[in-house]
């Protein structure tokens, strides 16, 4: 197997208008590395939903991306409030987002379902009051 590229990013939690910058950077890198555009799009969409969640639900966090020729892994870690009921959170349409988020086009409760749909593996570890770590895996 060829080399493994590792990327690390900090996601600012105060600025919703900037949410998505990290996903944008990763998308660009994957395109430059010559990954299949369909794969790149899946990574971009799932990661973007995750990044939005980090900003609207958890005050930002850190994202680590590991890129190998056959696999892309994205780990999104925050120290936010955690998710009380994961099954509920995974349900399409379930959202605790407030009105201000909805006005911006998010908070429809489709983020986690979209992340599941577009990734080849979704793992969520969450603890109330401690934070949430979402791991997304993609077969390239």
């Amino acid at each position: 197997m060829a080399e493994l590229m590792k990327l690390h990013y900090e996601v600012n939690g105060d600025d919703f208008t900037r949410a998505g910058e990290t996903s944008s950077k990763v998308k660009k890198t994957l395109n430059q590395l010559g990954f299949n555009p369909e794969v790149v799009r899946k990574v971009a969409i799932a990661m973007y939903e995750g990044e939005i969640n980090m900003v609207i639900h958890a005050d930002g966090g850190e994202i680590d991306v590991a890129i190998a020729p056959e696999k892309i892994t994205v780990v999104m870690k925050d120290v936010g409030p955690g998710i009380p009921d994961l099954d509920m959170a995974m349900t399409e349409g379930f959202s605790t987002a407030d009105h201000s988020v909805r006005e911006l086009g998010f908070g429809a409760g489709m983020g986690l379902p979209n992340m599941k749909k577009y990734s080849d593996g979704l793992n969520i570890e969450t603890e109330l009051g401690k934070g949430t770590t979402v791991t997304l895996e993609f077969n390239a």
Binding site: R41, L104, F106, P113
Partner: protein, 127 residues
């Protein structure tokens, strides 16, 4: 998904501009770009649930996340309905990402109806 009949409904941005009496805010050099379906929504997660290239996005929202959403999905053009004018930073972001932005005074319903009437349909395939 039916790939075979796609060519019939291809429409250039220049035609869309004409049908919607739209103004081009950025991407004037992209008017020859083709789209083959359209999606109208103010819910970005719904937009993100549908993957299709060459789709036109119509929306009443004008925040930067609309451009980000288009970027993630490789959407090449956005129409802001109801005469909504985005901030300069939104236009600049779209410009940087190579996404065309049009704005029309028509409402969402009328804008979609006009395009549909002229042959630009929706692709309801969900991934």
């Amino acid at each position: 998904m039916s790939v075979g009949d796609r060519t019939e409904k291809i429409m250039k941005l220049s035609k869309i501009k004409e049908i919607l009496d739209a103004e081009v805010l950025t991407g004037a050099d992209m008017l020859e770009t083709d789209v083959d379906s359209a999606f109208g929504s103010d819910l970005m997660s719904d937009v993100l649930a549908f993957v299709n290239d060459r789709v036109l996005l119509l929306t009443g929202l004008v925040n930067p996340q609309v451009v980000r959403t288009a970027e993630m999905m490789d959407i090449s053009a956005i129409v802001f309905v109801r005469g909504k004018q985005p901030d300069e930073n939104v236009i600049a972001l779209a410009e940087a990402k190579g996404i065309a932005i049009l704005t029309t005074a028509h409402t969402m319903y009328v804008a979609c109806g006009r395009l549909y009437n002229e042959g630009l349909t929706g692709d309801e395939k969900e991934v």
